[in-house]
């Protein structure tokens, strides 16, 4: 028989100390989830076929235990082992099982014997294990069969590449450090593209876009430290990728947030919004076809070959060290936020608020990229203050953008015809709620700006960048 362990692409179960095993023939297939305390949850899953979405699993404790860590990702096979597994039971005089002895013989690698006690019969299991350990050739295990399977699997938790920034050394030449940062983002794009094309789950596109966005920001904010033609040659390509992926992600955000959006209605019935959901899905399908065409194009393939090669060829140019570049860029970005922020009042027009949001984003990217060069406490406190301000600015802008989008969707649905009146009314209520959200954010904004523009924060910037660590 074969056993396959499943996890999300970004190893969420592994990170949570969970192991999900799928075994048995089609009709008799079962999932077994091992919890961190060793307890097992099981569910019959006849006809299961990965990728598996939690919502498609039978209701019960196993699904409940998976839902939190996994949503909205899908479960994919990570390692498969073929071999035989036999369960033997040790019984007492009443023919009552007191322990289970699992003998696991994989076709390759070492075999396993696992003694599982039954609750209330722990003494019996301990005696059996002691006796087995005296048998020649049996040694106490330090891992699990899953660890063994992972050791020879194609994917491994350590091999997962995110858009995280590598740890930087202050004295590294800026060109080399920035190329390493961009190289990480390129790897994340490369790894996530197949999952986007195969429509495995929405987070492949999300992670892909994070890598694209970070690449564009780093190019924009620090690209001039690199060879001059780099931005000219690749800037337009990443803008194209950003534009290519935006429509589907926007629709994903609406669809993922749909249950909350519908539940938030107070006047309209949430079911009235169903035609809106159908409309969003249909448009997503159209936009996805365009996205997939783009990701299968020669233009994208060429970018994924030429860009990493270009970064790999970057050499030490005896220019400034990364710590110097980081200090200058963070200080400049902070000064820009201060300049824009000080002009904002409770009545400032939306454009000024949006401009401040963009400057805040730039500062945030730089802080994240250069985090490993910063004094940790000052960095943490500054990011925490910035995040609060950004949340408020985000609510302000999202309120506006989404309200306009809901209106545009309603207009498009009317143009297509056959949209029921209750749906249009429910969408009107949604737009009104988004409007109220923007007004709340505006009321909060000036209060949020005060702490961020304070002398204390200005001093933090000095601590952060004053000396290279």
């Amino acid at each position: 028989m074969s056993r396959t362990w499943l996890d999300t692409f970004d190893w969420r179960l592994y990170a949570a100390g969970l192991a999900l095993e799928w075994a048995g023939d089609d009709a008799a297939a079962a999932l077994t989830l091992r919890l961190p305390d060793g307890r097992l949850l099981r569910a019959a899953v006849p006809g299961l076929s990965p990728p598996v979405h939690v919502a498609d699993l039978p209701a019960g404790p196993l699904r409940d235990a998976l839902a939190g860590p996994v949503w909205p990702r899908a479960l994919l096979p990570v390692a498969t082992v073929t071999g035989s597994v036999a369960e033997n039971r040790v019984r007492n005089r009443d023919e009552k099982t007191v322990a289970r002895v699992l003998i696991d013989r994989p076709d390759t690698g070492a075999g396993w014997i696992a003694v599982s006690p039954l609750r209330g019969y722990e003494g019996a299991a301990a005696r059996i294990a002691r006796r087995l350990s005296r048998v020649d050739g049996i040694v106490a295990a330090t891992g699990t069969p899953y660890d063994d399977a992972l050791a020879v699997a194609d994917r491994s938790p350590n091999g997962y590449r995110t858009s995280a920034v590598p740890k930087l050394q202050p004295e590294t030449p800026a060109t080399v450090a920035i190329a390493a940062i961009l190289g990480n983002f390129a790897a994340a794009m490369y790894d996530n593209a197949p999952g986007v094309i195969d429509a495995i789950d929405t987070e492949f596109l999300h992670d892909f876009r994070v890598a694209v966005r970070r690449t564009r920001s780093v190019l924009k904010l620090t690209g001039d430290a690199m060879q001059p033609d780099l931005i000219d040659r690749f800037g337009a390509e990443f803008r194209w990728l950003g534009d290519l992926t935006t429509p589907v992600r926007d629709l994903d955000v609406y669809l993922l947030g749909f249950p909350d959006m519908a539940a938030g209605l107070t006047s309209a019935d949430p079911r009235d919004l169903e035609p809106f959901r159908v409309f969003l899905r249909r448009h997503r399908a159209t936009e996805r076809r365009r996205l997939v065409r783009g990701l299968r194009s020669r233009r994208f393939q060429r970018l994924m070959t030429e860009w990493p090669a270009e970064l790999a060829a970057v050499q030490d140019d005896s220019g400034p060290a990364i710590a110097d570049v980081a200090r200058r860029r963070v200080e400049l970005a902070f000064r820009r936020v201060i300049k824009h922020g000080e002009r904002i009042t409770a009545d400032s027009p939306g454009d000024m608020v949006h401009a401040l949001r963009k400057r805040c984003k730039e500062l945030r990217y730089l802080l994240e990229v250069f985090r490993s060069l910063h004094e940790p406490t000052a960095h943490r406190r500054l990011v925490a203050e910035l995040k609060k301000l950004q949340d408020c600015l985000g609510d302000f802008q999202d309120g506006e953008v989404q309200r306009e989008a809901v209106r545009a969707f309603a207009a498009a649905m009317m143009d297509e015809g056959r949209v029921p009146a209750p749906t249009v009314l429910a969408m009107g209520e949604l737009a009104a709620q988004l409007d109220a959200r923007q007004l709340r954010a505006r009321a909060e904004l000036v209060g949020r700006l005060g702490p961020f523009l304070s002398q204390k924060n200005r001093a933090r910037i000095a601590t952060l960048t004053g000396e290279s660590r």
């Binding site: 019960g60 404790p61 039971r89």
Partner: protein
């Protein structure tokens, strides 16, 4: 945690059979299930091949000298554990009488297990006593097996009135016909009529079948040793009816 109790003032009506088989089906469905055999006769304990002994007896549990947790035994079936019966449970009434809130003690004992089990079955001894009153207060759902006879219906009404007088939380009463003999006209008539006339009576009726009696001989739930039998299909239907909204 959802607590079911199988209860009837009369004995020999299929209480233990229902508790044992429904608990087995609950475990099979993936719910972490606990069956507490409160009947000193220990029929459910015997069926699961567990020794009818709890350290310190019922007294240590009632007085809080031992946690219920320490008395739990794993059964041979995935997802199903058992608190065995103990012959000292026959004195539980007296022991309960000496506690602070004598009618709420069983619920208190179960509370620490709230996160550990999704479903609990209490197999209650027949009679009206402090033990049964405890069970009525602890349960979310009372599963009441009824033999199709006029007197059974009267007993059901008495129980509904008794529970209806509880202050505060009251368990839901779900009665079902048990040991139904289709050859008897009265059985057929009552099974057909009563659910329409009275609320709280489930659609599923458990037939009188010799295979159910074989549980004591086979020492296993009928749902385990005869999964394709008419008896299993009856308990399966009953479980489907009562297991809505278990999280």
């Amino acid at each position: 945690m959802r607590i079911f109790a199988t209860y009837n003032i009369k004995g020999g009506v299929g209480k233990t059979s229902a508790a044992v088989n429904l608990a087995h089906l609950s475990g099979q469905a993936g719910h972490r299930t606990l069956l507490w055999d409160l009947d000193p006769q220990g029929a459910a304990t015997y069926i699961f091949r567990v020794r009818p002994r709890v350290k310190g007896g019922g007294k240590a549990l009632v007085r809080g000298q031992r946690d219920l947790d320490a008395a739990i035994k794993g059964t041979d079936f995935d997802g199903l554990d058992l608190v065995p019966a103990d012959f000292t449970y026959r004195n539980m009434d007296l022991q309960l009488d000496g506690t602070k809130r004598p009618t709420r003690r069983i619920r208190q004992l179960l509370r620490p297990l709230d996160d550990e089990y999704d479903v609990v079955f209490l197999d209650c001894p027949p009679s009206i006593s402090l033990v049964s009153e405890n069970v009525l207060h602890a349960a979310d759902t009372l599963l009441v097996p009824l033999i199709p006879a006029t007197l059974s219906v009267r007993t059901f009404d008495q129980l509904a009135n008794f529970v209806g007088d509880f202050e505060g939380r009251q368990p839901e009463i779900s009665a079902f016909f048990s040991m139904v003999d289709r050859r008897k006209r009265l059985h057929r008539e009552l099974v057909a009529q009563l659910p329409a006339e009275r609320s709280g009576i489930l659609k599923t009726a458990i037939p009188a079948l010799s295979i159910i009696e074989q549980m004591a001989e086979r020492r296993a739930p009928v749902t385990a040793f005869a999964p394709r039998s008419a008896a299993t299909s009856g308990y399966q239907d009953l479980w489907t009816e009562v297991s809505q909204n278990i999280s």
